[in-house]
């Protein structure tokens, strides 16, 4: 394994060669900490995922440092709270690059932030690994430094569509999103993809998430004959209202879509727990338990380690924590394997990864493909079955 990787490294001689050549002063560099920047929306709206990711990041850094660091070099974290504001994110990115002089950056997650900061990181050739779903962020020519270790929007979309069409066998689909940038874009993409697959999109709408009553939209979806409602929104309030209206209408249509439908807050927002049944939110094989309540072995192991380290899991999602750990380990691994914190070396190493086994999934990157997460890992889960940040697999998966 190690040999083959070295072979690959030698194979991409150009990048590796430059990397080796550009070592400044190896002797000093060896004792210097490996600096990792985190662009994290720790406060403000839409901070919940980042807080989860950050627990994983911190956990991984502490674990690595406790085990002696990377070949004796400690990992040092530079966390910048961007509050979900692209303006603050741009400032923080430049600060990490020019002032803190970090070696690699993790994040950001929020799409507006990621869109604005990715070109800036590309300009500085800063190795960046992020979980943001926006399609256009991965472009190996424009942003050869950016790697995605989470599903992209279209991968989510594929999984949702697959579940609706092939498992639920629904023919008539309603697609509803909120009026945020994300909601508008996701609804548009989802509708186009459904149509391309020959499904009948009978109703589509973008609803103001503060709208007090969802009855009109639900009624119209019902009148149009929808057999499944696909939801693209991060607004738990709006989602809960839809679930409640469905119950009032005595309609048993399934909801399929965005992971926020499985968010813990919904429990308090639905009028009765039954309203939250038949809601299938995006989940991951690695973080889903089976009928016996068991996670995959590797994940069981991780949960045990996290519990031992007192990492809180009941108010967040396991895949966020696992993703945070994987991100740090990917960076650490790159430094360890390439023996350098040089950005070109880190990027070159990531480009060689094939089915790298992380906790959240197996990652594969190549110089022309930076979407590292495998689509088959994405599954639907029962939204109301949260247990320590994991979910029950939705019905229909074998």
């Amino acid at each position: 394994m190690a040999i083959s990787r070295r072979d690959v490294l030698l194979g991409s001689a150009g990048a590796a060669g430059t990397a080796a050549f550009s070592f400044p002063v190896p002797a000093i560099a060896q004792s210097e900490p490996v600096k990792v920047g985190c662009l994290a929306a720790m406060t403000g709206p839409s901070s919940a995922p980042t807080i989860g990711f950050n627990r994983g990041v911190t956990f991984a850094v502490e674990a690595i440092n406790a085990a002696g660091g990377i070949k004796g070099r400690k990992l040092e974290l530079f966390i910048r709270d961007t509050q979900g504001d692209p303006t603050k994110a741009v400032n923080a990115t430049q600060e990490l690059i020019s002032q803190a002089k970090v070696h690699a950056i993790w994040g950001p997650l929020n799409s507006g932030e990621a869109l604005a900061t990715t070109p800036i990181m590309a300009r500085a050739k800063m190795p960046d690994i992020h979980p943001c779903v926006v399609e256009s962020l991965i472009d190996t020519t424009k942003f050869p430094n950016a790697f995605r270790m989470a599903p992209s929007n279209s991968q989510w979309d594929d999984a949702v569509r697959n579940y609706c069409l092939n498992i639920l066998k629904a023919k008539k689909i309603a697609v509803i999103g909120d009026t945020t940038g994300y909601g508008v874009t996701a609804v548009g993409a989802s509708v186009a993809a459904f149509k391309k697959d020959g499904a009948d999109v009978v109703y589509q709408a973008n609803v103001d998430s503060t709208q007090p009553d969802m009855t009109p939209d639900m009624l119209r979806a019902k009148n149009a004959g929808a057999e499944a409602i696909v939801v693209w929104s991060v607004s738990t309030g709006m989602e809960a209202r839809m679930f409640n209206v469905r119950a009032v209408m005595n309609w048993d249509v399934p909801f399929v879509g965005h992971p926020s439908m499985s968010s813990g807050e919904i429990a308090g927002l639905v009028e009765k727990p039954a309203n939250w049944k038949k809601v299938y939110a995006i989940g991951y094989k690695s973080c889903s338990y089976d009928a016996a309540g068991k996670l995959p072995p590797k994940s069981e192991d991780l949960v045990a380690r996290l519990a031992k380290a007192n990492v809180v899991m009941n108010d967040t999602l396991l895949w966020w924590i696992a993703g945070g750990i994987d991100a740090i380990e990917l960076i650490a691994k790159a430094v360890a394997e390439s023996g350098s914190t040089d950005s070109a070396a880190i990027i070159a190493y990531w480009n060689t990864l094939s089915k790298y086994p992380g906790y959240f999934g197996n990652y594969s990157f190549s110089p022309t493909q930076h979407n590292g997460y495998p689509t088959e890992e994405i599954v639907m889960s029962e939204a109301s079955t949260a247990k320590n940040g994991t979910f029950a697999l939705a019905p229909g998966y074998t």
Partner: protein, 599 residues
Amino acid sequence: MTTVTAAPAHHDSGTFRAALPHIAPFLGILVLAVILPFVSNDYWVLIGTRAAIYWVLVSGLNLVVGFAGHLAIGYVALLTLGAYTTSVLVAGNVMPPVPVFAALPIAGAVGAVFGVIVGLPALRLRTFYFAMSTLGFATIVTQIALAWQSVTGGGIGIVGPEFPAPFNTAWGFYFLCICFGVVTTWMSANIARSRFGRALIAVRDAEVAAEATGISKPKMLIAIFLFAGALAAIAGGLFATLQTYITPDAFTFDLSVLFFIAILIGGRGSILGPMLGTIILTILPEIAAPLAAWSTFLYAVLLLLIVLVMPGGIAALLDFRNRRPLASNRAIVPRPAALADIVRKRTGGSHLKLRGIALSFGNVRAIDGLDLDVAPGEIHGLIGPNGSGKTTTLNVISGYYAAEAGSMTLGDDALPPGEPTLRAHRGIARTFQTPRVIGEASVLQNVMIGGSIEGRASFVESMLALPRNAWDERMLAAKARALLGVVGLESLAEVRTDRLQHSELRFIEIARALMLDPDFLLLDEPAAGLSNDEIERLAVLIKAICARGTGVLLVEHHADLIFDICHQVTVLNLGRTLAAGTPAEIRVHKEVVSAYLGG
């Protein structure tokens, strides 16, 4: 050009020396800005670029908020508009791609138009309504950016424009933005220091008086809404480049609050203050990163503190000149003789005639069929008990109230009812019962406001400091100084007006009215609150004004003053003429004597 002599040149260097203390802080900031990239890293260059871009917007908004006093709290909407317009034009989403240096001016034009549309409610409505409408506009611009996906990219947004070399590097773009900042500072300072800037403050702090001097509020406001809208949109284009990519969530309400508070921290009616405010507020969140979550809260606390504790802002802190104590034993010594050098001598001229004027407020007949003739070169006294309609009569003549019946003529022409801003053009000037001056402006500026309609330079000429504007300024300043000499206040020319005594304000109002070189001067109780000495000097002054051929209508309670200097006296009671005639006739008029003169 060939007739230029040594004198004006000397004058120019003099004004430069006088202006140096004002310019020096700006030059200092500029020098620091130029040094910045050489002593720091790309991060601070980015923050500097951001501050410069925000300042481009704030320098325009400052005229709306700081000078005109309109609380535009949603100006991020125009930044958004400019950012999207520039980006869309450069990306070529709707038409063939446009080079960025052409897209920026187009965005500026679009911003100017929308600046006026958003500003329209300010022309008619109370402050709070305007604040709300800008807020509402800020919401819908974002909504439209989201919804109009084919053009704006919706939530995924759009790539910001990229400038050609050498502006495509961090340094190059920084210096470009600094240049924009310098130019907008220069333009907004030119406007602020011109008659337009003074007129804005006049409309803000003394709207009624501004109307009497012929300042048209709608015209003024539209001009600055155009200007501020254009600058905000251009700042938006630069902002889009800096962000590299724009999505609707980049344009937060926090940003709006930042712009707004930067101006208030800086101080109203100042340019240096808001500039420092912008720089401070851009840097503050960077050095106070642990407080990031609370930044809006801190802005709010700052806002409250400014309002309650330091309403003058940074500008007031830096205003050292106005902390020097004024002489406490100063006296107003008018020099009416000097009037001959300033006010032209009239002979003959037309009469101001009121016939059968009637006006009621609810059920109260304030004026009930009043006839009045004011002749040029005569002082006409108007007396009567409180509520007899004296001030209302002045207000009808000035156009604040439209009479319900009757006619007003000036010579052969009818004087249209209402329309106070047209009175100055007809040669009618006035003072007010409670002096209406701009407390935050200097005495000289207050007087110069009186001559607003005499300026010849257009708004654009003033903005670009073209020669006609300089000529206007020299002319108005010289005339105002001379008139301050006439009323005896030239030593206080540079002092903030709110530091003056009440009696001095009355003389300032007279000087301001004289700036018009008026055919008719309406004085509303000019002697109220004056000492006996001052009343005597006032009498001499009024007589001197009259002697130049100006007709004076004098509303007064001081019977002695009236009988001393008036040629004609009209006595009002309950809105009707009780008696009219020469002072000698009135003095012996039975009803007048028994009713008012305590005879």
